[in-house]
Symmetry: C2
Subunit: 256 residues, 2 copies
């Protein structure tokens, strides 16, 4: 069957993460996407994504692939899928790709943003952003957090920052930068791949640096320990956004 | 009892509007605010706001007043209220005011913004903004809409733009401006007061101008008709934000 590359956005608030939960029947992004495909003529494979986000995590541009016999042109297919999808998932773009394109294994890098806001002094939490930003009520040493963030860059064994991870735990972090702009505090992190809950553990560890509970040079020791108990707690899911999956240029077959 | 001026933000998505619905028990902003006060020591009056927003309408800075015997200093009172309030309402600021301050009757002007985004060509609706922005899928003559908007400015009888309104229907619109910035289309409207559903009817009428169903000069005829059927349909509630209530400077009594 021909293969399609899908780019999609979702609000993770009401999803139990990306991955289909056939046993429990919990609402997942993969689940509602595959169900939307069943409303269209043709046969369709299951869908595979660049990253399997957890419950509450959002995506601005998740990439996934599916094999389908549908002959609907891509632009019309986008509209047809969105008509069948719930409003908290939107398909942005559909491209034809070669049969060996794999959204997960061919992904060269993933980029996440973790969004926080300083809620202290005259700043406060806001009702309208409560599902998309994590509010920080403490006094934080942001410079120390920024220095500590850079220590995650490079190729390391990230076992101490992963939850229930069965895969090999070495990853290369290309960028780990804490952007501070007025009230906003955003962690930008790019890696060849991420372990389960890794970004949330990185943020949790940086927050402990910010609170003075650990030193910015402590990151090296945390990594070397390969022990989850040595890093900070996982920061909440709702500040996390999957924002980019990078691939080599793939031969796009014209169907439209 | 001493009088307090409250400034608050809310996400209208899950509220049946501002006003207490004692009979039906529907969830309203006034209702949850008054309930939060009952958790605090002292006696408290009911709460009155500058504007009674409808179901689904948001507020970035609604102003309200309450009489209360509480002796908690204002900054601590803000925190105590927010601790008892659901996350979709946040109290921002509390000031002591003179006993004759009235959030509704002393309000000199109200400002609303109606947020829209053009969702056509390569632009699309987004999952994460679905409760806060109205997406427009049609081709629109935005210049004609901008010209038409200005025709609402001035003192007019707005009967043709009000739903179930029992009050006198003459209002003065100080500003009615459609801001167009790339994909964003925001109506800024300021008036001494607004009739029920008036902003939504103004937006609905402007959208008909944008679609070419009526001329930008048609606004004058609509106003003169004083007939609701002559204006456009009410645009959806979720694009509407109450953003400012303007008062003369009030003598603020120091309690903190």
């Amino acid at each position: 069957m021909p293969r399609l590359k899908l780019t999609l956005e979702y609000d993770g608030t009401h999803f139990h993460g990306w991955q289909l939960q056939a046993k429990t029947g919990e609402r997942t992004v993969q689940g509602v996407l595959q169900e939307a495909f069943t409303k269209l003529p043709g046969e369709h494979s299951s869908i595979k994504a660049a990253g399997r986000t957890d419950a509450g995590v959002h995506a601005l541009a998740m990439v996934a692939h599916i094999d389908t016999t549908t002959t609907i042109p891509n632009k019309k297919l986008t509209m047809a899928l969105n008509a069948h999808l719930p409003e908290d998932v939107r398909v942005y773009d559909i491209q034809n790709v070669s049969d060996d394109f794999d959204a997960q294994f061919d992904c060269l890098y993933r980029r996440y943003i973790y969004k926080m806001k300083l809620a202290r002094d005259n700043f406060q939490s806001t009702a309208l952003e409560r599902y998309g930003v994590v509010f920080l009520y403490q006094d934080l040493d942001i410079t120390a957090m920024q220095q500590a963030a850079k220590n995650f860059e490079g190729t390391h064994d990230f076992a101490s920052l992963a939850t229930q991870e069965t895969r090999e735990t070495t990853r290369t972090v290309y960028l780990c930068e804490l952007e501070h702009n007025g009230r906003e505090l955003n962690l930008h992190i790019v890696a060849d791949g991420f372990l389960r809950n890794m970004v949330r553990a990185v943020v949790g560890t940086l927050l402990e640096v910010g609170k003075g509970k650990r030193n910015s040079n402590d990151i090296k020791r945390v990594l070397e320990s390969k022990n989850r108990s040595q890093a900070g707690k996982n920061a909440p899911a709702h500040g996390l956004y999957f924002v980019e999956a990078g691939y080599k240029s793939w031969e796009v077959k014209s169907k439209d």
